[in-house]
Symmetry: C2
Subunit: 322 residues, 2 copies
Amino acid sequence: MRFMPSEFDLIQRHFSRTAQNAVLGVGDDCALLQPGTGMQLAVSTDTLVADVHFFADADPQKLGWKCLAVNLSDLAAMGATPRWATLALTLPEVDDDWLAAFASGLYDCANQFGVSLVGGDTTHGALSLTLTIIGEVPPNQALRRDGARPGDEIWVSGTLGDAALALAALQGRVNLTDADLATLAARLHTPAPRIELGLALRGLASSAIDVSDGLLADLGHILSRSGVGAVVEYAHLPLGEILHDYTAHPAFDDCVLSGGDDYELCFTAPAAQHQALDQIAARLNLRLTAIGSILAEPGLIVRDAQGQPLDIRRTGYDHFAA
Amino acid sequence: MRFMPSEFDLIQRHFSRTAQNAVLGVGDDCALLQPGTGMQLAVSTDTLVADVHFFADADPQKLGWKCLAVNLSDLAAMGATPRWATLALTLPEVDDDWLAAFASGLYDCANQFGVSLVGGDTTHGALSLTLTIIGEVPPNQALRRDGARPGDEIWVSGTLGDAALALAALQGRVNLTDADLATLAARLHTPAPRIELGLALRGLASSAIDVSDGLLADLGHILSRSGVGAVVEYAHLPLGEILHDYTAHPAFDDCVLSGGDDYELCFTAPAAQHQALDQIAARLNLRLTAIGSILAEPGLIVRDAQGQPLDIRRTGYDHFAA
């Protein structure tokens, strides 16, 4: 069954707000956009599939926020300014209330980060969302994955493991109080892309990535693209208040070292930038923590407070060790 | 079930050819692209869902071609030069042969039209493809839907109804000889985006759209966006040799007037440009046919060779008549 034309009208009404930063927005064969003179474009595409990346009965307003936020996180990791997005929405049925809530969450995030939704497509099928984000960055200023150098410090923003612990609780693997679950679930469902931080890191950071697959896996991408290794101090990993209470739980290491969905930035910078980064943390009111150092020798070591290496083969890193 | 990391590696290998026109291609948080100085971007997103837009057992090589070609058709309708694309691929399973064939068709089309595949995402779920295309067009030269003016002639490229007749035959609604079906199926499965024509129409055409939903529906979009009406001469509609043999078939009108998937361009131009358009047709070796005129009065009339209006309520146009 395809949607009937009248159903398409219904759907499109929710996504036809005027695109303020477009020469021509929704309603023609293409959107027309005017990039800033000389600017480079940073482009990323992410798909969220029901029952793989989110629960099919997820709150549609939060889902609308998240599908844009996870793409914005990719722009943050490049140090790019958000500009435009397109949304491809595949729906099993037309549910006006669901669409209204989804669009509300999506536009909340778009407005907060200055993104114009300039086009997309609506199709009939199993629920999934594909969002393409376009940002701008001046030439030679993008934060890439391949610039980490031996001696650089490794930093991470915010706290780690919150979203993964919330997911573990929602899946019945961990018991949390209702209040703790509510706090952590916000990290899982409505992540805050670190756009301001990404912009502040231009010219300071030597490499950056967002923590979407887990700290070790994502740091591993930096290491392999840069051709270097790293040592991470387990005791330095930044934890939120709730996570502190779960350090003895069997799921703790997995959450902190390989939990996805935090959407913090992991980045490297020369040690000489340490003070400048502390000042950025103060200015943005955002915790920035030095968690280790880049080594010339390939490989990733996580060591405990006594300096002994931890066994991290089961934390999602081994795949990227080659 | 999610894909295992090793499966992602397998998938990504098929799509990691070096992006020649990107500052930074696949493998970072975002692709980095350098637009031409002062150029505007034309951006479009289309999703193809298995069993809605294509048969799930479709030839993967042709599917790879088509998913890019239908997006290129949107650029053609804007008069834009193709530059970059991202692909979001949702797959029910990892089938190496299928992926190799799909990538082969996709890159064939990309190479022919100068497109660089610069990024994307691979996820696990029901088979669907979302492609976002980015092209360039100089300011104020894009072909839009809202520029048709009373007195303009209405033109269409190529021939109409071929893809729809092929689909009708594949669905068992029409009987065709094997040879005829093979000829028409190529129009359905490997459409040729009219990129060169779109570029040639800059400065000549007053409006343009690609025929993806059927001639009357798509011309209807031009009329409603331009605030005008039109008369179309049924006897002038361009038919291929095979279609000529089916003019008496009950499915004929539906194929020619409301059949989708032809991906020809429908455009309008001042009558003074008639000769210039004939010259473009000769230069591009592409049939261009004047099929009617734009009227000040809203509404769409299709009239037969005797000048009598046809009943077109059942041909997909009525939805756009309001």
